[in-house]
Amino acid sequence: MTAATNTVSKPKGRNWRATLFERPKKDYWHPYLGGLLLGLVLFASFFLTGNGLGASGGLNRLVVYVEDLVAPAHIDRVPYLLKMAGGDKNPLDDWIIPMIFGTLVGGFVSGWRNGRLQVETNKGPNITKRTRWVTAFIGGAIMGYGARMARGCTSGQALSGGAVLSLGSWVFMFSVFAGAYALAYFVRKLWL
C-alpha cells in the first residue's frame, strides 16, 4: 500500500524499492536458449580458466570457514577438513568462492530485470508453506550430504564433468535422475 502512494508522490526512478521489486514480470527463456547460453558460460569457464562451474564446493568452504572460526583445533584433527583449512590455510581463498558470489549476484540481477524478486514460497498446491519450508530444509540437507559424498553437485559434477566426458560424472548424473525419479511418485503430494 505504502509503495503505491510512494510511486505517486515521488518520481518513479527515485523509489528504489519500486525500481527493484516492482518491475513487470517477464517470461522465462525458452529452455533450449537457456541450455545454449548456459553451455556458452560453461565453455567460457573451461576455455579461460581450465575449470568448470560449481556451487556446493563453495558452500562447503563457507561451512569449513565457520567451523575453523569456532573450533580450529577440531579442524586440525580431521583430515578431510584439514585439507581445506588446516593450519593457516584460509578455506575462502579459492576460486569457487568468488564464483558463488557471482552466481548470487547474477541470479539477483536476472530476477530484478525480469520482475521476479517477489518474496514467495514456491510449493505444490496441497501443502502449507510451513511444510514446504521443512521439506526444503530436509531436502537441502540430504542434497548437501550427497553432493559432498559425490564430490560435486549438479554444476560441479554433472554439468562440468559431463561436458569434458568424465566417466564418473556421467554415471553420477544418471544416478541423480534415477534417485529422483524412483522417489518422485511417493512424494507427489509435495508437488502435485
Binding site: 537457456g34 569457464s45 576460486w95 564464483m99 547474477g106 536476472s110 540430504i142 559431463g162
Partner: protein, 411 residues
C-alpha cells in the same frame, strides 16, 4: 597451446578471482532466466509435465562439449590442462542417488537454490540452510567411512572415450545424437503429461539441432591429436630448450632436489627392465616408453603443486624421447638427467669397487658399466646422501606453478 590461460601468473590473484566472479555472474543469470529459481519448475521434471531441467542441462552439456572438443581438436585448447572430475565410481553412485532424493524432496540443487535465495524465494533460503547443514554433517561423518569414500571404484582421470577405447569424435557425435533423442522424447512427454502444444514450439530449434550435429561431425573429422601431433605444435620452442641444454639437469642438481623436502621428485627410469634391475637410482620407478602414455592421466589427476619429473636412461636418448612425451602432454616441471645413469655412476661411484667401467661399442644410449649382481638400488651410489655431496652446478630447474585447476566446484 595458449588456452586455458594461466590466469594467476598472467594477471594475479585478485583479477583471476574477478574472472571467476564474472563467470559465476553469467552462471547465476542464465540459471535464473531459465526458471531455475523456481522449485515448482524444477520438480515438474520428475512428473514429466515440464522437462526444462533436462533440456537446459543437456543443452548446456552438449553445447559446451562440442565447443571444447572442437577447440581441443584444433589445438587451441589444451585438454590436459582442463579439470576432468576424477572417477570415484561408488561414492559417485551412492552420492548421486542421495542427491536425487534431496532434489525431489527439496526441489532444488545447490546452484539453483542460491539463485532462488538471491531472488527472495523463502523455500530457496531454507534449502540453502539445509544444504549447509548437510555439508557440515558430511564433514563430520566422512571419517567413519574414509577408506570407502577415497578408494571404492577409484579410476582416476578417465573419460568415456578412454574407457570405451573410442576416438573422442565418435563419442561426441554419439552423445549429441542421444541428447537430441532425449529432447525429442521430452517434448513428447510434455505433450502427453503436460498438455503442451508442440506446434507452438519455435522452429529455430531444428536449426540448433542441425548446428550441433554439424559441429559434432566436425570434431569427428578433425580427429584426436596424437602425442606426436601435440609435440609438433610446440616443437620449435622445445627443440631449442633441448639444444640449449636448459632441461638437462646435472646429477648434482638432481641429488639436491631429492634432498629438498619442499619438493617432490619423481624419477622415471625408462630403460629396459633388466638394466633397471642391475642398477637404478633409489626411489626411481621403471616405466617403458610405451607405458609412459598410460601414466599421463595419473599425473594430471595429482594435485601436488611442487612435483618435479626427471626422466632417466643410460645416456640421454631414450630419456629425451620420454621428455618429449611428457611436455607434449603438458606435464609441468619435466627434466632429463644429464648424461643419464652413466654420468650418475661416474659422479657418485668412485668408491664402488664392484662396478666396473666397460664401455660397450654398440649404441649411444647403452650402459657403460658392469655389475657383479642385480642389486638394483642397494649399491651405495644409487642412494648417495645429499648432505655429504656438495656439488657445484648451475641450477636449471625453474618451478612452474601448476594452474589453479582444483576439485572442480567440488574441492
Amino acid at each position: 597451446m595458449p588456452f586455458p590461460l594461466p590466469l594467476e601468473t598472467l594477471v594475479g590473484k585478485p583479477l583471476m578471482y574477478a574472472v571467476f566472479a564474472l563467470i559465476g555472474f553469467g552462471f547465476g543469470f542464465v540459471l535464473e532466466s531459465s526458471g531455475f529459481g523456481n522449485s515448482k519448475k524444477l520438480a515438474a521434471q520428475f512428473y514429466f509435465s515440464e522437462m526444462t531441467v533436462l533440456k537446459v542441462m543437456f543443452g548446456a552439456i552438449v553445447t559446451a562439449m562440442v565447443l571444447i572438443f572442437t577447440t581441443v581438436g584444433l589445438g587451441v585448447l589444451d585438454f590436459n590442462q582442463l579439470w576432468v572430475n576424477p572417477t570415484y565410481l561408488w561414492s559417485g553412485i551412492v552420492g548421486g542417488l542421495i542427491m536425487g532424493v534431496g532434489f525431489i524432496v527439496g526441489g532444488f540443487c545447490p546452484g539453483t537454490s542460491l539463485v532462488a535465495m538471491a531472488t527472495r524465494k523463502i523455500d530457496g533460503l531454507f534449502f540453502v540452510l539445509g544444504g549447509l547443514f548437510g555439508i557440515f554433517l558430511f564433514g563430520e561423518t566422512e571419517r567413519f567411512y574414509d577408506l570407502w569414500w577415497n578408494f571404492a571404484g577409484y579410476m582416476g582421470r578417465i573419460t568415456i572415450p578412454e574407457w570405451l577405447g573410442l576416438p573422442y569424435g565418435v563419442v561426441v557425435v554419439g552423445i549429441v545424437l542421444m541428447a537430441l533423442f532425449m529432447f525429442w522424447g521430452s517434448e513428447q512427454l510434455e505433450h502427453i503429461f503436460g498438455g503442451r502444444d508442440l506446434k507452438k514450439e519455435p522452429r529455430w530449434r531444428y536449426a540448433g539441432a542441425a548446428g550441433l550435429l554439424v559441429v559434432a561431425f566436425g570434431v569427428l573429422l578433425i580427429g584426436d591429436a596424437t602425442t606426436a601431433d601435440k609435440y609438433a605444435r610446440i616443437a620449435t620452442a622445445k627443440e631449442l630448450q633441448l639444444t640449449n641444454r636448459e632441461v638437462q639437469i646435472s646429477p648434482g642438481e638432481l641429488l639436491s632436489t631429492i634432498g629438498n623436502d619442499t619438493l617432490k621428485t619423481i624419477i622415471l627410469d625408462v630403460r629396459p627392465e633388466n638394466e633397471y634391475n642391475l642398477f637404478h637410482l633409489h626411489g626411481s620407478q621403471n616405466i617403458s616408453l610405451d607405458d609412459l602414455q598410460t601414466y599421463i592421466p595419473e599425473i594430471h589427476a595429482q594435485q601436488a603443486l611442487n612435483t618435479i619429473f626427471v626422466v632417466v636412461s643410460n645416456d640421454e636418448k631414450a630419456a629425451t624421447q620420454a621428455w618429449k612425451t611428457l611436455v607434449a602432454e603438458s606435464v609441468p616441471n619435466a627434466y632429463i638427467l644429464e648424461g643419464g645413469i652413466n654420468n650418475w655412476i661416474t659422479t657418485f661411484g668412485e668408491n664402488e669397487q664392484n662396478i666396473v667401467y666397460a664401455p660397450d661399442a654398440s649404441g649411444e644410449d647403452s650402459l657403460k658399466f658392469t655389475f657383479p649382481a642385480a642389486l638394483g638400488d642397494r649399491y651405495e651410489c644409487a642412494n648417495p646422501s645429499p648432505h655429504e655431496w656438495e656439488l657445484e652446478f648451475t641450477p636449471k630447474i625453474k618451478l612452474q606453478i601448476k594452474r589453479d585447476k582444483s576439485g572442480g566446484g567440488c574441492g
